[in-house]
Amino acid sequence: MWAKERKGVRQPYFRFSASHYCAAALLLSLVLSSGAFFLPNSALGWLIVIDAILVLHGVYLKNKVSALLRIGLAQLAVTLPLYYLIHGENQLLEGVIVVLRVFLALLPGWWLSATQKPERIGEVLSWGLPTKWAFVIAASIGLLPYMLQETKEIYAMQCLRGANITPKALRNPKNWPELIYCVVLPVLIQLLKLSKQMAKAAKLRHFGSVAKPTHWPATREEE
């Protein structure tokens, strides 16, 4: 009875769901990023205002801007000396504008990742993706903790064995190949085994033989 009533109330109108909102955010960040490339200098002010609002939104949701600022400063440190060397002092302002544009192109991406949940972005992306590749992405993200755990264990064991791959030894580039052979190679072997097992498990569950695959309900937490 209760369930019926609730259903009756919810059905009639269209709800602007979280994934629609996320798709809109994705589009907005795409438009703003390309705006940083193609807008003339006179319109740059408006872009700065919009991006500033985005930054405020991101900071309001307790995200850190420091990493972004560091990238911007690094870009400035590379570009300005080059401008100074090649064009002299009077074109330094142009260099600053260029760096500003690069920074403005990065900001919407930061905002997107700061405000949107990864699973929502994944859902939006899966609208255009074939089932198999959506499954592959879901499987690899789902198995990520396992892969990391495996990598950590292999690393710890190789360290115990006495391989020269402790953080201190890795300061010397001569030890880098050892890291590849001791850690990355076993990880690759594990990944090959894992992919074989997963493919077999999925095939035994008739993966790929049904035209319209079923999905785990994705919007549970919003209900």
Binding site: P118, S140, I141, I180, L188
Partner: protein
Amino acid sequence: MKSPFDLQDALFIGFCATLLVVLKSMLRLKLGLSGHSMFLMTFFYLICYGVVNRVGAMTVCGLLAGLVAMMLSVGKGGPMILLKFGLPAMAMDFALLFMSGVFNLRWRSIVLALIGTLAWAGKGLISNLLIGMSGQVALAEFGLSFIQGGMFALAAALLIPTVLSRLHAHDLLPNRPE
């Protein structure tokens, strides 16, 4: 995208792409040098090519890595990262079309690594020019990033034949890398 890959290869490519993204995000904290991402990218793309042994594997790996990076919001995030991962992979695959069977594995991976770096640095050059940077400065930055990225990519390419032959020794590859 009609996929000729069977599920096992597809999964392996997906795992490689995910590992690439995660390792890259871990490494960028330690090293300030630009271009070190080319090491991981070249390494995993060439491994994918060597294991799956098919044209298109690298492109798929690059695009998947871009998608995963976008979802995990690694690096600068946003839709641009798809191009960042995808473009070198596409260039490498495109080059592979013209040179399959020409060189041995070692030289092929070196040439592919350099082509990938070219595409990677070229993408920076084009975006810098679009943004209105003066041509000379953009070219200088292009040269700088090509040299840095090229060194890392070469180091990765030199490791590939050994790693592949060791994987073959574990009986994990369907056919022997030449």
